[in-house]
Symmetry: C2
Subunit: 110 residues, 2 copies
């Protein structure tokens, strides 16, 4: 029986794909500290404004952030701060990788 990969997995993938870029993860981490406008983020990231704007629209389309116009800037905010918690698990994977890598090296040296 096929078709077990369904709408749910596609919906999940859309959200996760939206997170899957270094600059966007930086944005998420930064927004977790508080709202930021495009200019702030652009300066921190050091890319073209249009690039950052597009990253933000990817995040917004996924529903990960929302924006609020105020004065003459647009402020972006994190919608579900729980996504930051996940990075703890990602770090766990990374350190497991690092440990394993170290073991492989140790093994080869002998």
């Amino acid at each position: 029986m096929a078709g077990k990969v369904n709408t749910k997995h596609e919906a999940w993938a859309k959200i996760i794909k939206a997170m899957a870029h270094p600059s966007r993860l930086f944005i998420i981490e930064e927004l977790n500290k508080g709202e930021r406008c495009v200019g702030d983020l652009t300066e921190m990231i050091g890319a073209d404004t249009s690039t950052v704007s597009k990253h933000l629209s990817v995040l917004k389309n996924a529903g990960l952030v929302f924006d609020e116009k105020r004065a003459n800037s647009i402020y972006y905010k994190l919608r579900c701060p729980c996504i930051i918690d996940f990075m703890g698990c990602v770090e766990e994977v990374l350190s497991a990788n690092a440990r394993e890598h170290k073991n492989i090296l140790k093994c080869c040296r002998k």
Copy 2:
């Protein structure tokens, strides 16, 4: 000051990018229930064996799964089951999206 998007964010992105595909999320979900071999997963996903094998190697390269040869099959297992917990947060984003979408519709109907 630029360069705030650093190695950490790139490392995170690698892991998350490896998850960012419907079939791979299905695999993760399935492996969370227990180990599975390529054949099992291939049948469930309904794609070419080579395709599934490549998805598995993406997951393995990211350190999300590991494999164990036994009899004449290769069994894959989840390395850090915590990644499944994250889906709870993803669902939260999805339902926030759904709610918002409903509100927009309601608003337009008036």
